[in-house]
């Protein structure tokens, strides 16, 4: 799900510090649309939503579009400035989003979040499969679809022009590329994918909570991109799975070590990730899989 960020950071060199915010937007859009109006049983708060729930696929697509539009709205004023400003603006947006999600109870259910967010294909789960198992298939399919589309886009001249902007924006401009438009479209698409990721996550968890979209979620996404390989979609997917495998393994380990160590595992986990990140930046900045070289067949 870091693929969206890879498009922005790996291919275009845009520093988006608000990944979590865009995921949050996607997750909540999806949650609201797919559950419909919903009263929390405890507090009787309503969150907003259509009277009749949307189906899951169109909710996810709308979540994607809305996150993308938010991305474009932030990007239009800030992309013209230096890279740092984009980072600050997106970081701020992510915080604003999180606080709105937390406090606008009537809209979002506040601290309690949304519940009963549906999963796709619940009616069609083959006998003997768990709901989680079926969801894995859906998530894999979504990842694969996004991967194929992105791979096509970045191999196309559009992707080449993007990389030119990443390498040297002024030179790309002098060669006749509209750097602003390229950056804007890459940013919008990247944010849209983050929104889709948010929707998938919401659907998997069955609920949405504002604090899932704090800054560390952004940080984790960068870890995945840097470890996996900036500018390399397959690398980033690999990075994503390794990252979560690592997290999962450390949780499993808890059962096998003494209690006082089990309590520390979560923290050790973060230390190890941090160390890995530093080691990678120092010794293998291109990540596990570096950006592939483009070598077309010789014509002559």
């Amino acid at each position: 799900m870091s693929l969206g960020l890879n498009l922005q950071w790996g291919k275009t060199g845009l520093f988006n510090a608000g990944v979590a915010g865009f995921m949050g937007i996607g997750a909540y859009t999806f949650g609201m649309l797919s559950t419909g109006r919903f009263a929390d049983p405890v507090t009787n708060w309503y969150h907003a939503g259509p009277p009749v729930p949307f189906d899951i696929v169109s909710s996810a697509l709308i979540a994607m579009v809305i996150a993308g539009l938010f991305g474009i709205a932030v990007a239009i004023p800030t992309l013209r400035l230096r890279a740092d400003y984009l980072a600050i603006a997106t970081l701020a947006l992510a915080e604003i989003v999180r606080l709105i999600l937390k406090n606008e109870r009537r809209l979002t259910g506040g601290d309690l979040g949304l519940g009963f967010v549906p999963r796709p294909l619940e009616g069609f789960i083959p006998r003997g499969w768990s709901s989680d198992g079926a969801f894995v298939v859906v998530a894999l399919a979504a990842t694969l679809l996004v991967f194929v589309v992105l791979e096509f886009m970045s191999r196309a001249p559009w992707g080449r022009a993007l990389r030119a902007v990443r390498e040297d924006e002024e030179a790309a401009e002098a060669l006749g590329k509209n750097a602003f438009r390229l950056k804007l479209s890459a940013f919008g698409i990247g944010c849209g994918i983050m929104g889709l990721a948010g929707a998938l996550q919401a659907s998997f968890n069955g609920s949405v909570h504002p604090d899932s979209y704090a800054a560390f979620a952004t940080f984790n996404t960068y870890v995945v991109v840097i470890l996996g390989g900036s500018g390399h979609h397959r690398g980033v997917i690999l990075g994503g799975y390794l990252f979560y495998l690592f997290g999962w393994t450390s949780q499993q380990l808890k059962a096998y070590v003494p209690t006082d160590w089990a309590l520390r595992i979560d923290f050790i986990n973060q230390i190890v990730i941090g160390l890995l990140l530093i080691l990678f930046i120092l010794f293998r900045p291109e990540g596990i899989l570096p950006e592939p070289k483009y070598v077309p067949r010789k014509e002559a």
Binding site: P157, R160, E170, A174, G176
Partner: protein, 253 residues
């Protein structure tokens, strides 16, 4: 009298309190190999950047091919056939030599997102055409053996060639060269000049900034001298060489 391909009229560009270009006017005629010379800080590179749209001028008019281009974004100016190379090569480091050239190709199918949706199958065809053209340019310029090398691995002189090759990919009518042979060994400088000469025969115009007076005096047909942000004088090489004001401010005794 050949028609002017580029006209600069009363152009001003200030940076803070410094008037880098201070009301400069001249014309570059089509078919006449023209040089812009002058001491460091005279405003030559700034003026080039203004013409190419990288820094919009604060005042004045720039006409290319009879139409105003001042204030247009660089990509719109390139699309009209005016392209500039950088004094210090700005190669796209992590892309191959071939890709560096391909990026510069104009009107490529699939560079706008809309194309990717509307006609995804034309892209491959367009790409083959771009590759063919890029290889042709590489052949002309003598970088074919480095086709798939990362641009960051090229030598300084090869980067200069790459800079020129990229400009040629854009099908320009006029190329602004900012010191094309500065810091280049004599053999390579000779080669660059020959390439330029060959292209001039095909109808491409060149306008260059250069400090190598040997090159300027022998190769160029018209010289414009800038001093303190303005045009000092212009004329044929022999006149410039003898002009006392130029000798004073630039050439030396």
């Amino acid at each position: 009298m050949a028609t002017p391909i580029l006209e600069v009229r009363d152009v001003v560009k200030t940076f803070g309190g410094i008037r880098a270009v201070d009301g400069c006017s001249f014309a570059v005629r089509s078919g006449v190999f023209t040089a812009l010379i002058g001491p460091n800080g005279a405003g030559k590179s700034t003026l080039f950047n203004a013409i190419a749209g990288l820094h919009a001028p604060d005042a004045g008019e720039i006409r290319f091919d009879g139409k105003r281009v001042d204030g247009l974004p660089p990509h719109a100016i390139v699309a009209r056939g005016l392209i500039k190379t950088f004094q210090i090569p700005r190669e796209l480091r992590n892309m191959t030599v071939l890709e560096n050239l391909m990026v510069a190709a104009p009107r490529v199918t699939g560079e706008r997102l809309f194309d990717l949706v509307r006609r995804p199958f034309d892209i491959r065809k367009g790409e083959a055409e771009v590759i063919r053209k890029a290889e042709e340019v590489l052949g002309e310029i003598g970088l074919r053996h480095l086709r798939d090398e990362y641009a960051r691995n090229l030598s300084g002189g090869q980067k200069k060639l790459l800079e020129l090759a990229r400009a040629l990919m854009a099908d320009p009518k006029l190329v602004l060269l900012d010191e094309p042979v500065a810091g280049v060994n004599p053999v390579l400088a000779q080669k660059i000049l020959e390439i330029i000469e060959g292209l001039r025969k095909k109808g491409v115009d060149f306008f260059l900034i250069e400090h190598d007076m040997d090159v300027v005096m022998r190769r160029c047909e018209w010289i414009i001298v800038m001093h303190q942000g303005r045009r000092l004088v212009e004329g044929a090489p022999e006149e410039i060489r003898r002009n006392p004001a130029v000798i004073d401010s630039y050439l030396g005794g």
